[in-house]
Symmetry: C2
């Protein structure tokens, strides 16, 4: 089995990039990743993207991005799994290198969401739900998040204010990340007083969709050791799915795909949860952060929110999450989000996370979710 | 290196499936493939699809299709490369099995195009072109095909009627395929007299977009030998790209991605063109069939059309193409087309192609193109 390592990373700011086309965004991230690796030869490109067809009238991003980044001719394609597209694309790059047929693979997550008006974007984002049984009735991502959150509050006797710690932590970390969409700190009182998007999901509960691109260059660990000073090893990679529609799930409050992919990844990496120094989870809503913590095993069922209440998710806590702001403050560039998570984890493991740095980060976990968790991709990265 | 073999195939008719949802189409093809293999355990699903987000308001097909096909939980994602999505998805399945991390992979190409009205479909199909430099000016697939065809006619002194042989052959073969969208034979006179879509591309020149799904189950050749009586080996797999916009290409009349992927595939398979008994090429337009024949090396530059004129592409010819009707008569279910090609090639190599059978087919080539050839995926299959 070929081991795979990360040798280059790049990213753009996450924000409203009205003046920048989708191909430019991808190029900026790719160029940064290639420069970071001091290596400009690529055998295959996996583009993580969800919405270019709907919001930019552009499918076929693989060939387009390859050409614009100066890599015309290279194998390239798009991988899509809603907002887990980035993580799924990274998984394909890992498999490609492990197959022995691709020497150096480039992953680029790219998304441009903010050019279109609200209703168009809402409908486009809802394509991650079940079109025939959820979206057609007017269900939106925020509405689906509200259903989960309300059920959780009811079942476990948790109040709205109990979720504040997730957003407060994300914004505190985002304030230290120059790439973050929101760099303002958030007070618990402000969280509790925020206007509702879909009760009980509020403005400071749901992560904002943003534009951005992030890129990662991977190759075999054997080659990586000769190429860069600080390769970061992909210790494990796993993807699992669940029913897309919430009403089809066996248990509304259990992310079975997240559990399954996390268990597989931890087993393959041969590490226990105690050895995970930092985790980038998919905090598209505070409820998703809570449910991910539970599904991964960081908290018991119904108790994910207590990790936020008790400060365990902070940079100096037991299991730091959203260390660069997470989806909530760094922003959620949908199909690119999973690649941002892995770029940030790499920064942590290299010890190059700047003001976002976690002390002694040796092993990290990233979990990227699609829709309301119907796709879950978990990667474990390790500093050797 | 793990060798990969096909152990099951399935397909639906290609036609206007107004009464059938996209998840049903996918399920029908998957069920047929699993039944064909007498094997119902799958480790990963690669969905080839281009247009569900735009035309069915449904992204996230991986999880959706896995669940609906009774495979909830399984790793699943969508692979997109315009109308080369199916071929690209198959390539990912091959890499996944070769990595050693996925034992049995399922590829399902699925597309539902005909529910929407003409203008919506035209715009959706044009997302395979360059949105910012082609489609925004009103360019369509037919228009792009017309540009290529006119230039070819001008450069090589070829007339419209000289292309008739491609469509006549496709319809003759489609008439023998019970799954084909069009089963009527076509006379050369009818081709020459057809109404224009985008001069010189006529109604009988351009392949019709249709709905359909096709599925393939693959596993390691070692396991395949114990599982089925007639495994078909994936002798080689290669994907290459080119500039998306026609005006960006170095040579308008040369499909460099098709050439590159074909050369790589032939070299990896260790076979020469003479050993290819049957080829499924991407005849989305007659000009694309001619250019593919040239790029693969079956004809000299500017002479691809002569293979049609001289009958060499017929079932009893030197290099039979479109043996089940090709895109022109079987129909072009965009993101599913590449999987149909491979299903048909498998039927040929098993000797189970019915009235479409080529005598003594041992080695076959499939080439799936995206847009106007900006993506090209070439596979070589072999009967051991």
């Amino acid at each position: 089995m070929t081991n795979v390592s990360i040798i280059g990373i790049g990213q753009t700011d996450v924000r409203e990039h009205w003046e920048t086309s989708i191909r430019h965004l991808a190029w900026y991230a790719i160029e940064a990743a290639l420069d970071d690796a001091h290596h400009h030869q690529v055998d295959a490109i996996y583009v993580g993207n969800m919405l270019a067809g709907q919001l930019s009238n552009q499918n076929h991003l693989g060939a387009l991005v390859a050409d614009f980044a100066g890599l015309r001719g290279v194998e390239a394609m798009t991988v899509e799994a809603a907002d887990a597209s980035g993580g799924a694309a990274f998984r394909q790059a890992v498999l490609a290198v492990q197959s022995g047929l691709v020497e150096t693979a480039l992953v680029v997550g790219v998304e441009k969401v903010t050019d279109e008006t609200g209703a168009t974007v809402l409908a486009a984002l809802a394509t991650s739900l079940d079109a025939d049984y959820e979206a057609i009735h007017g269900q939106t991502l925020s509405g689906a998040g509200a259903l989960l959150m309300r059920r959780y509050m009811h079942t476990y006797g948790v109040t709205l204010a109990d979720f504040a710690g997730f957003s407060v932590n994300a914004h505190a970390n985002g304030a230290a990340n120059p790439r973050a969409m929101y760099r303002n700190r958030l007070k618990p009182e402000a969280f509790a007083a925020a206007p509702m998007v879909a009760d009980p999901v509020s403005l400071f509960d749901e992560a904002p969709a943003g534009d951005g691109a992030a890129a990662i260059l991977v190759t075999s660990s054997e080659r990586a050791a000769d190429m860069v000073a600080q390769p970061v090893r992909v210790a494990a990679s796993a993807l699992a799915t669940d029913a897309v529609a919430l009403h089809d799930r066996r248990d509304l409050l259990w992310l079975s795909a997240a559990e399954r992919s996390a268990q597989r990844a931890l087993a393959a990496a041969g590490v226990t949860l105690d050895e995970i120094d930092v985790a980038e989870l998919h905090d598209s809503f505070t409820i998703m952060a809570a449910l991910s913590l539970e599904a991964c095993g960081f908290a018991a069922r119904g108790e994910g929110w207590t990790l936020a209440r008790d400060g365990h998710i902070r940079r100096d806590g037991r299991i730091p999450i959203s260390t660069f702001g997470g989806l909530k403050a760094r922003g959620n560039p949908m199909g690119a989000t999973g690649v941002y998570q892995l770029v940030e984890l790499t920064q942590q493991l290299r010890g190059k996370a700047g003001d976002c740095q976690i002390a002694n980060a040796r092993t990290g976990l990233a979990q990227n979710l699609g829709g309301m968790g119907a796709t879950a991709v978990t990667h474990v990265l390790s500093r050797d």
